[in-house]
Symmetry: C2
Subunit: 106 residues, 2 copies
DNA sequence: ACAATGTTTCTATATTTATGGAAATATAGA
DNA sequence: TCTATATTTCCATAAATATAGAAACATTGT
């Protein structure tokens, strides 16, 4: 993980609408949700939602796949874990910190 | 943790200079470093550094304490852990994810 | 081919954020 | 009190980001 990617990923979730989207997808699991469904749940206009989903995808924290007429968006758990590890790397001057463990990515 | 605080904290580290500062402080431990020392290590002009340190403090990810002529800045490990927990909360639709554990805060 | 539905791109505008020099404000030692 | 050092505030400018309507594009069922 390099710092530019980390900043890109953090920027992508450092915004209220996008953090809501991301947390929703994290909670929903690997299946994900179609864009329209996300917009409906969070009350975000289609074009605004599309803009935010692009930010999240571009940063790599969210994946997308087409399924018939729908585009499913889902959390990228590996990327999320990578980011969390990066933030806590070599922490606390070697004073016996627990290394971070987060979501399974099987 | 509410979403506004989380966005504030994420915004505070979603910037290259500030992420460098934060990671440095995370690695350095609870003792922290004086502002000038941080600026020297990371080659950041004093006024710019001051602006960024204020952002980090204001978000609560960094603490400061005065010690004679110096102001020591240090990572707020509890806040950091709180943020990481918030991001991974209720993740993966209950499919047996490990709950996150990060830095000790004793 | 046509209509219905889902999603994105284009566009303009408003808002927020980052930068660093110069001046101001602490703190402490002589 | 005078001086040196540490840090912050003020300021103007430059750059990046968020918003959402309208139009365009894609996919599927009839």
């Amino acid at each position: 993980m390099d710092i530019k990617s980390a900043v890109l990923q953090l920027s992508s979730i450092a915004q209220e609408a996008r953090l809501e989207i991301f947390r929703l997808l994290v909670q929903v699991g690997t299946e994900g949700l179609p864009a329209g469904n996300i917009g409906e749940r969070l009350q975000i206009p289609a074009s605004t939602l599309s803009f935010h989903l692009k930010e999240l995808s571009h940063a790599g924290l969210v994946n997308s796949r087409q399924a018939s007429r729908f585009i499913y968006y889902s959390a990228n758990y590996e990327a999320m874990n990578g980011l969390l590890v990066y933030l806590t790397e070599n922490c606390c001057a070697g004073e016996g910190c627990n290394p971070i463990t987060a979501c399974k990515t099987e």
